[in-house]
Amino acid sequence: MAILGSINPILTAGLDGDRSWRLADYVARGGYSALRRIIAERTTPEQIIAEVKKSVLRGRGGAGFPTGLKWSFMPRTLPGDKYLICNSDEGEPGTFKDRDLLRYNPHAVIEGMVIAGYAIGATRGFNYIHGEIWELYQRFEDALAEARAEGLVGKHILGGDFTFELFAHHGYGAYICGEETALLESIEGKKGQPRFKPPFPASFGLYGKPTTINNTETLASVPFILNMGGDAFLAAGKANNGGPKLFSVSGHVERPGNYEVPMGTPFATLLEMAGGVRGGRKLKGVIPGGSSSPVLSAELMMDCTMDYDSIAKAGSMLGSGAVIVMDETTCMVKALERLSYFYYEESCGQCTPCREGTGWLYKIIQRIENGLGRPEDLDLLSSITGNIMGRTICALGDAASMPVQSFLKHFRDEFAYHIEHGRCLVPREVQRAGSGFFTASA
């Protein structure tokens, strides 16, 4: 399994790989007790929202927006349909935590969604699942069927008067659908092109109705918050950074995988849990919060703790908690080229700076990587990112720009070397060996 370690686990406590995802297993772990209590005790939505606010749960989708506050924006008493969306379109390079939650603990997501639906007055919910993890889409459908059969989802949940229909909707290969309004468009059966905000989804969301969108991990945390209490959940993390968090560690480490640790855990500890840098090599740089967050040099990173505030102070973002580790065998130009290709390839094509700018960035970086860089390219890259950032409809424009700016900031010499010498500082064979692909044992 890919949940490889934890410190004081909550979300992943008691999981036993592929053997324990079913309803009965979840119930045996205490699952659905929060929902049962809410229905039995007729807990008010206000009480639930208050508890979630207390927990200082911050959205795990990347932006870290306080969940309780987001829920309180919903016009709960407004008549008519309202929606809750779980964002399982995990596509941010480096992030693979939601996949494991859906794989090993789908009922926690379902219970979290039902409770959230209850708290915000939603009538229907959708879990939007990344297209490539089709097997888990099907597993989620199975888990939903179990929950429906038990009266945990659907009409008059657990015999109470709360009715909440819940369905799975699969993506089909578009990173941008992780952006919440693109996701809404996608559910509406259109291209996943983000909407301009305002209006925000809480007033004009799916089908024009009030809608709340939360990340899978955010929603999966909800039952635990209600079981252990908001204060205890907050205490499981660090002030202003409530709870534990799943970190997806990938790249040049011995044991890539998910680790559940309290917010505020030192990066060094996390790296150690992941077995350290692969082959004992030297750490070069780390992207701490998914590909869109600025890369940090090894030195800066080693001083960080894993929480929103510490990483922000170092000049990056905790984002979705995807830690991409790069060792000394990495060519930073190549790394950036690949990321730039990704943003260029995934731009929804709607707004001018992103549609045109991401392609331009990629072409220049590709040229540099191919030994055809020009001295003025680096300034041009900075200038282009400046013309993209803050000018686009959604944050993909920023996401495409920040890697470029940060790679140039921390590894400028390597880019300059490329331009000057038409080749990389790191010899090809070293790069090749670094991946371990040809030496890995099956």
């Binding site: 578009a174 941008i176 291209k191 301009f196 305002p198 260029y344 390839e345 995934e346 731009s347 929804c348 094509g349 709607q350 707004c351 001018t352 700076p353 549609r355 045109e356 700018g357 991401t358 392609g359 331009w360 072409k363 220049i364 040229r367 041009l380 200038s383 400046g386 013309n387 803050g390 000018r391 686009t392 409809i393």
Partner: protein
């Protein structure tokens, strides 16, 4: 109302207005491409980025609501840098060859690049290439590399035309605008996309590379094709009409025109233009001087009056003739002593003489279409008959929740959300309306009008009646089919009852451009009308601007009458083979582009216009020809110096409301219901005749590009599967259609050979055979029995 400041000017913003809208009101220009006041907000081009005080990032003016205390800077360094950055992005993949681009000189991108761009390009990579596409005869997609992805064209289709024919496929910079599988764009409003396209990606196919924008003169005009009276800008070069564009008039056509309005100009330059007067000498038409031709006419008419009596003279004007032309024509006829004059060639049923007929009109202002609560449209192929009325109803249904109901003869999709859509056979149309009348009477607990005893309301009629009764603004519109129906008067009478019961008002969706003007011009019969002048043939006919074999209710009846006449005077811009057969005199008169005149649109708006080019060859404006004829005939009152003088005599300026609306418009009719009209035909196949949009008048019929569209495909014999089976004919095979002569008349019968086509949208027991096309001109009336057999 929030108070906001833009570039130092403080103003009150309407609630919900965006920065862009407020700026527009203030006359502050904010550069933009994707924003268009009639389309939804996409905010995708990002050209309109402006600085807002305290906002960390520039915001798009088009999508950002104006809020109280907001301070906006459209030219600050931050805003300028943002705009410049966007312009650079727009240009990196855009061809920079304005001199060879068809849009050169009228390109928003070109204009803004000058004002907001940088000097040299920093882009050194390869430019994107987008393949050209085929999209039918009107809109050219030859230059798709020029597209800047503003999606105006896509949104236009979805929102205004009501059908999404263009889409933007793919993502990233590879996004491109396509039609599905390269299909043609068929919307009757498609040309507006050309106007909306801010660059040279979508261009006018007929106009492509015909001229450069700056060489053209721009002159105002009015469209003759339907009763919207769309305001046009006609662009000319060297005395030739090169292009027609909408002239914005929010109250009339907004900023749109139909493709018929836009592309019909090609017909003006048709090789079939008549440019020299001709008279028949020894059986052959010969070109002669005007003086000879007019003398011939004057003598001919005098002879008829002297030998047979004035009552033997009849005159028929096309309803797209100008007010002045129709007025002088009727004056001429009346001056000679005849009352046989009309301007409604497709009508056959007229109120008995003595029943006062006001000028039938829309019953309200056009702009009010958008504000209705309920609209019941009876007997109209509304989308193709009057595209811009359909467009307004579509917006009304969408944005205003207007309940639109159609009672029609086919299930043609009006592309709007419908409250009810009832499809009936032609002979059942009166009964279908009668059911609504009775349902309304019963619902309102008022006495059921006499004559409706046998009528039984059904579920749709109950629903329609309810929708008309609901408080609010309701209208009953009578369309082309209702007016041309054999029981047109009874349909009107039923509508009157419905109006009396529900409070809904009556309006007419008249097809041709100057129907209201026709009523006002006085070209109304005091003896024989447009129908009876043919059922009761006369010795002499004067025809103005129409082709009877295509424009009359019963072409064969009309032709038979013409053939037996002694004198046939044709005033027409065009000459056809048929015309050459029957005409004794051909007088070349000018189309609307070459004459001054007046059209009065459906709402009674009096719109005068001037010629935009000089008359072609020896042709002359018809009003002048008629004036000279009047003088030659020594009649009173033919001494006007200008068309304005004619107009002012008919519509004295002082009589106009608000200086522009005619008075004397009235849709009221007081007649008893005739129960006999409510009995549907039994045991016969009935003809359903629409007049396809590009067959509707002589000018469009000669516009080559329009004639290549799908809407201009030659008529077929469309039948439901039941009808096909009953008739024993196979879809796809050639069939012989036959119509019998009218009762009481020896003529008006005819035959045509067409392909049978399966169309389950045609009511059972009916065959849909379009009128207005040579292939069906040999048939008889637009309504009534028709037979079919396999050949």
């Amino acid at each position: 109302m929030p108070e906001i400041e833009i570039d130092g000017i403080v103003t009150q913003a309407p609630d919900g207005a965006t920065i862009m809208e407020v700026a527009e009101q203030l006359g502050v220009y904010i550069p933009h491409f994707c924003y268009h006041k009639k389309l939804s907000i996409a905010a995708n081009c990002r050209m309109c980025l402006v600085q807002v005080e305290k906002a960390p990032k520039p915001v798009p003016a088009c999508a950002t609501p104006a809020t109280n205390g907001m301070k906006v800077f459209t030219h600050s360094p931050l805003a300028a840098k943002a705009q410049q950055g966007v312009m650079e992005f727009l240009l990196i993949n855009h061809p920079l060859d304005c001199p060879i681009c068809d849009q050169g000189g009228e390109c928003q991108l070109q204009d803004l690049a000058v004002g907001y761009g940088m000097g040299a390009s920093r882009y050194q990579e390869e430019k994107r290439v987008v393949f050209h596409k085929e999209a039918g005869p009107l809109v050219s997609m030859q230059e798709m590399s020029r597209c800047i992805h503003c999606t105006r064209c896509v949104r236009f289709g979805q929102e205004i035309a009501g059908v999404m024919e263009l889409g933007m496929v793919n993502r990233t910079m590879h996004s491109e605008i396509v039609t599905f599988l390269g299909r043609s764009i068929d919307s009757e409003l498609s040309g507006n996309m050309i106007d909306l396209c801010p660059v040279g990606a979508l261009t006018s196919k007929p106009f492509r590379f015909a001229a450069r924008a700056w060489e053209l003169s721009r002159l105002p005009s009015i469209s003759p094709h339907d009763s919207v009276g769309a305001n046009l800008t006609v662009q000319t070069l060297a005395n030739r009409v090169m292009r027609v564009l909408p002239r914005e008039n929010e109250a009339v056509n907004e900023c749109w025109i139909s493709d018929r309005d836009r592309f019909s100009y090609e017909g003006v330059n048709s090789p079939e233009r008549l440019t020299r007067p001709q008279i028949r000498v020894d059986g052959k038409l010969r070109e002669v001087d005007w003086s000879v031709a007019l003398d011939y006419v004057a003598h001919g008419l005098r002879d008829i009056v002297n030998t047979h009596g004035a009552d033997e003279i009849a005159a028929l004007a096309a309803p797209w003739s100008t007010l002045e032309e129709m007025h002088l024509l009727q004056k001429l006829v009346r001056g000679l002593g005849s009352g046989n004059v009309d301007f409604r060639p497709r009508r056959m049923d007229f109120a008995p003489s003595g029943v006062p007929a006001g000028a039938r009109w829309l019953g309200m202002r056009i702009a009010e279409l958008n504000e209705l609560d309920t609209a019941l449209v009876v007997g109209s192929f509304v989308r193709k008959d009057i595209p811009l009325f359909a467009q307004r109803l579509r917006q009304a249904a969408k944005h205003n929740g207007t309940r639109v109901t159609l009672i029609s003869l086919g299930n043609d999709d009006p592309l709007m959300s419908m409250h009810e859509h009832v499809v009936v056979a032609p002979s059942e149309l009166p009964a279908a309306l009668a059911r609504v009348v009775k349902a309304a009477a019963l619902q309102c607990r008022v006495p059921v009008p006499a004559g409706l005893e046998a009528i039984v309301p059904d579920i749709p009629s109950e629903a329609i009646a309810t929708s008309l009764r609901v408080r609010g603004r309701s209208m009953i519109f009578l369309g082309r089919v209702a007016v041309q129906h054999p029981h047109a008067v009874q349909i009107h009478v039923l509508a009157q009852h419905l109006s009396d019961i529900t409070g809904a008002k009556i309006g007419f969706f008249s097809d041709a451009g100057n129907i209201v003007g026709g009523y006002l011009s006085g070209a109304l019969p005091s003896a024989r009308n447009a129908h009876s002048m043919f059922t009761d043939p006369r010795c002499a006919y004067v025809l103005l601007g129409l082709e009877p074999e295509l424009d009359c209710h019963n072409p064969q009846l009309a032709l038979a009458a013409l053939r037996q006449a002694d004198l046939r005077v044709v005033l027409s811009p065009f000459v056809s083979e048929t015309m050459r057969e029957y005409a004794d005199v051909l007088l070349p008169v000018t189309p609307f582009t070459e004459t001054s005149g007046t059209f009065v649109n459906a709402e009674g708006r009096v719109q005068s216009f001037k010629g935009v080019v000089r008359p072609l060859g020896d042709s002359r404006p018809a009003w002048k020809v008629l004036r000279v004829l009047g003088n030659l005939l020594e009649l009173e009152g033919f001494n006007q110096d200008s068309s304005e003088e004619v107009r002012d005599a008919v519509l004295p300026p002082a009589s106009l409301k608000d200086g522009q609306f005619a008075s004397g418009l009235d849709n009221c009719i007081k007649l008893p219901i005739d129960a006999a009209a409510l009995v549907p035909a039994k045991g016969i196949l009935e003809r359903v005749a629409d007049v396809p949009i590009y067959f509707s008048d002589p000018l469009v019929r000669r516009a080559p590009a329009l004639q290549k569209t799908n809407d201009a495909q030659a008529p077929t014999a469309r039948m439901s599967s039941r009808t096909l089976a009953q008739a024993g004919v196979v879809a796809g095979s050639l069939v012989r259609l036959r119509q019998e002569s009218l009762a009481g008349s020896a003529s008006g019968a005819g035959e045509a050979m067409l392909t049978a086509v399966l169309d389950d949208g045609v009511p059972d027991g009916c065959i849909r055979v379009s009128a207005g096309h040579p292939s069906t001109a040999a048939l008889g009336a637009m309504f009534g029995a028709i037979s079919v057999e396999a050949v």
